[in-house]
């Protein structure tokens, strides 16, 4: 079953085409890496997939809902986490979880039960009453990820989830991503760490609003005769004509 399926998706801002006629699909449970240089159109594409921006042209569905007609249903059916903003620092750990549970309509008793189970699993039970701002950054990121999938969405969008995180936490974070994907949650992730591209089942690389390559990391490396995903990325990004403008 496909969780994302888009055809000829396009977004124009005035005369500038940010996303230029892209088509791709993502399977259930897949870890899908969404790469590209700054200004290649990743954020714009992601906003359309999350129901935050109307496409100029093209069609498609996310989590079973039409991106042109059912953007509100998409918002309720997906999870989303960004590096820049994830949790309310002035709320306690449990208050943050409860807020998200409420927004996504998880029944209160169920939310209470899941909160305890989640904190237990994260080893954070003793921090339930702590303000989020008192937690180390690494823990906050792990908590933010758990909160983003608290309502058990079919797909979670992670926008540079590991930016600025220490190298050990970064890896623990990826182990959480693996677990989520094993439980059937599709993971759509952007990153500037090319080693993380290797952890994805498939990777797409955007250049100037188009998808310039899309395959498994192993096949991409083979196709471009490259040692690493970093190499693949550089070869493709060099083809950019607008230099990220």
């Amino acid at each position: 079953m496909k969780v994302i399926e888009v055809e000829n998706l396009t977004k124009r801002f005035g005369i500038f085409t940010a996303v230029d006629n892209i088509s791709f699909s993502v399977e259930r449970g897949e870890i899908f890496g969404f790469l590209g240089a700054n200004g290649a159109g990743k954020t714009t594409a992601m906003k359309m997939l999350c129901g935050l921006l109307r496409p100029s042209a093209g069609k498609g569905s996310v989590a079973g809902f039409d991106i042109n007609r059912d953007s509100d249903k998409i918002k309720a059916a997906i999870g989303y986490m960004s590096q820049k903003f994830a949790l309310y620092e002035d709320l306690k750990v449990w208050e943050n979880i409860r807020l998200y549970a409420g927004i996504y309509g998880v029944p209160e008793r169920e939310a209470a039960r899941r909160t305890d189970a989640l904190l237990e699993e994260l080893g954070l039970s003793h921090e339930k009453e702590s303000l989020v701002k008192s937690l180390p950054l690494g823990w906050r990121q792990k908590l933010a990820f758990s909160v983003s999938i608290f309502h058990r969405p079919g797909i979670v969008f992670l926008d540079e989830p590991t930016g600025g995180v220490d190298p050990v936490t970064r890896r623990q974070f990826w182990e959480m991503i693996y677990k989520a994907s094993e439980s059937g949650i599709t993971v759509f992730v952007t990153t500037h760490y090319m080693d993380e591209a290797e952890y994805c089942n498939r990777v797409s690389i955007m250049v100037d609003g188009r998808i310039a390559a899309l395959d498994s990391p192993a096949l991409l490396k083979k196709e471009y005769g490259a040692e690493s995903m970093d190499d693949v990325f550089r070869r493709l990004a060099r083809k950019s004509v607008n230099g990220g403008l």
């Binding site: 700054n38 190298p167 693996y178 230099g243 990220g244």
Partner: protein, 323 residues
């Protein structure tokens, strides 16, 4: 003024505390100072990298060195000038590019640059040679508002503004954060060229792979330097055996490897896993390429490839974190 042979930066027991728990300390309420008594020196003409995750204290250190923040105790000198007493002198000779874009969004590219030049009593023309490489990319858009530039272009403008008064020391706080790998590489090439012009560069980054581009680095966490040395010396002092492992089921293998006796740590490293093992009698570990491979094959993994690997700065950082 200090002695004639002053260093570009000289820091002694520098401490700063913001009065409340910022982070670290395992979340159990143990407060960690933003800066916990740092001492180090940077030679003139060096590229010195401060490498560490968000919250390590990098920005606090940069703000003290650029005279924007007072330390609680200790002292810091930049080109011989004291950051507290001689702050006016430092402001003349230091260039600073903050981590957050801090130019005037509503002014054009050219107007921003002109303001910085004028503030420092110079003109764009006078020091154009310093920024030519960087500013060339921006020149076609010099009438565009700074706020309307892409991320990479904003960085280039900010760097041009930090350079236009011909600073002796350049402080760059996370210039590559959130920037794609290609633009990151470009920026580092610019830094190498600036070094050739004799400018001392102090740069912070959360990307461990940028360590090798610096002359010396400090690995920073929780307000302290875990190590401060050349990248090669840090790698040479790794102290454990390191293996790189590949196979068919990488996810499951991670768990499997952690159960193997003699494995002290096991983490994913891109397309392989890195395994560390204690050295017996300081020489070789009881784990070998052959024994690891045998372990994995008997546990049912196929296509197993095991090699001894050279540690990277990232391996070293992770090892230091575990101590």
């Amino acid at each position: 003024m200090g002695e004639l042979n002053f260093k570009a930066v000289n820091v002694k027991s520098l401490a700063k505390n913001f009065g409340k728990v910022k982070q670290g300390g395992g979340g159990s309420g143990g407060g960690v100072a933003a800066l916990g008594g740092l001492s180090f020196e940077v030679d003139r003409g060096e590229i010195f990298g401060v490498i560490g995750p968000d919250g390590a204290g990098k920005t606090t250190l940069f703000r003290i060195l650029t005279t924007l923040l007072l330390p609680d105790s200790g002292e810091a000198r930049v080109m011989g000038f004291d950051t507290v007493k001689d702050y006016r002198e430092i402001r003349k000779i230091a260039g600073y590019m903050p981590g957050r874009f801090s130019l005037y969004q509503d002014l054009t590219v050219e107007e921003n640059l002109k303001i910085f030049a004028t503030l420092f009593n110079t003109t764009i023309e006078e020091n154009y040679h310093l920024i030519r490489d960087i500013y060339e990319h921006l020149e076609p858009f010099k009438k565009r508002r700074a706020g309307a530039l892409s991320g990479g272009m904003k960085q280039k403008l900010a760097l041009s503004c930090a350079l236009i008064h011909k600073p002796e020391v350049l402080f760059l706080d996370e210039p590559t954060t959130g920037i794609d790998p290609v633009s990151r590489k470009e920026l580092w090439e610019m830094l190498r060229r600036l070094k050739k012009q004799g400018i001392t560069i102090i740069v912070s980054t959360p990307y461990m792979d940028e360590a090798s581009l610096c002359d010396r680095i400090a690995l920073m966490q929780d307000g302290k330097f875990l190590r401060c040395d050349t990248p090669s010396a840090i790698i040479a002092s790794f102290g454990k055996n390191l293996f790189s492992v590949k196979g068919d089921k990488m996810g499951a293998m991670l768990e499997g490897l952690r159960r193997v006796e003699g494995v002290s740590s096991c983490f994913a490293f891109g397309n392989s896993h890195h395994i560390t093992a204690e050295k017996d009698n300081g020489t070789k570990s009881s784990l070998t390429v052959t024994s690891l491979k045998a372990h994995l094959e008997s546990a049912g993994f196929t296509d197993v490839e095991v090699t001894e690997a050279e540690p990277t700065v990232e391996d070293c950082f992770m090892e230091l974190l575990s101590k």
